[in-house]
Symmetry: C2
Subunit: 149 residues, 2 copies
DNA sequence: CTAGTTAATTAGCATTGCTAATGAAATATA
DNA sequence: TATATTTCATTAGCAATGCTAATTAACTAG
């Protein structure tokens, strides 16, 4: 019997390794973003707009976990770059609806493909079996995160 | 036979899911960092100093993938907070050796534990079998990243 | 010894985070 | 209805973090 490790300890060890692996993996992905000419906050907000759809500034701020004044400026930047569009809500004139422009969609998809290709490159020489393992792991992580949201 | 997916396509799909899962996982971890009272760049630089050891400003900048002027300011911040110490290199007076102070080590270890605990919390209700899977996945990712560095 | 190279810093810009204060619109209440 | 409160977004101002260009200091080569 293994007595030197408690179950809780094992969980912390796995959490530690997964935390570290995620950081190192994303470091490669993030490097590609320079090519888009946009900062990380704008790309991330644009990603929400593209994959979730148009929403108010407050909703976008909540989705990105930043305060409204911060998102107000990020959105202003997206508009300045022609990547986002601001429309007033006819239901409630206080609200503003933010949406990605076609240009914004194109830019985001390109940035996204560069990121994913970078991750794929890192995983380049792994076996089929290892790729299956990683695919399952990704699913497991996503479902765990969804439960905690 | 499955004809609609090439192997390369499968790899991109796994890369995509892993990329997404990593982002969502780290989002939980990152939220804990506010409690340390330090910004992300300082915490990350401090982490290198603690886990790799003292090094010159240029080496630290390279490790963190930022330019020297940026690291110069981050180190100034660490010093101001009493988390880092700057010593001149007796071999070469142009160089400065940066090291974490005991206070810096303590702060980093606390921040790190909070992060890892947050990840562990997300993984809280996974089975033993799933945890084993994630542990293996983390190892696989780390070894792949190491080969590309 | 002078010229070139290297290491770090300073100066100045843009982005991105915050809080506090303000403005504008909707909602609740007297 | 009129006023008070609440809600949504923006503005102003601060700090941190990224960059490039220019500077300073120190080492190295010729």
């Amino acid at each position: 019997m293994e007595m030197s490790h408690s179950l809780a300890q094992d969980r912390l060890e796995v959490a530690d390794r997964l935390h570290s692996a995620s950081i190192h993996l994303l470091r490669h992905a993030r490097r590609q973003d320079i090519l888009s000419g946009q900062g990380p906050a704008r790309l991330s907000a644009l990603s929400v707009l593209v994959f979730v759809g148009p929403m108010t500034l407050g909703q976008l701020a909540a989705a990105e976990q930043v305060k409204p004044p911060t998102m107000s400026r990020i959105v202003a930047g997206l508009k300045r770059s022609g990547l986002g569009k601001i429309e007033t809500d006819p239901e409630d004139a206080r609200r503003v609806q933010i949406r990605a422009t076609p240009k914004g969609e194109r830019l985001l998809q390109q940035a996204r493909q560069r990121r994913i290709q970078a991750v794929a490159d890192v995983l380049g020489d792994l076996s089929e079996e290892q790729m299956r393992l990683l695919g399952e792991a990704a699913e497991t992580i996503e479902s765990a995160v969804r439960r905690r949201r």
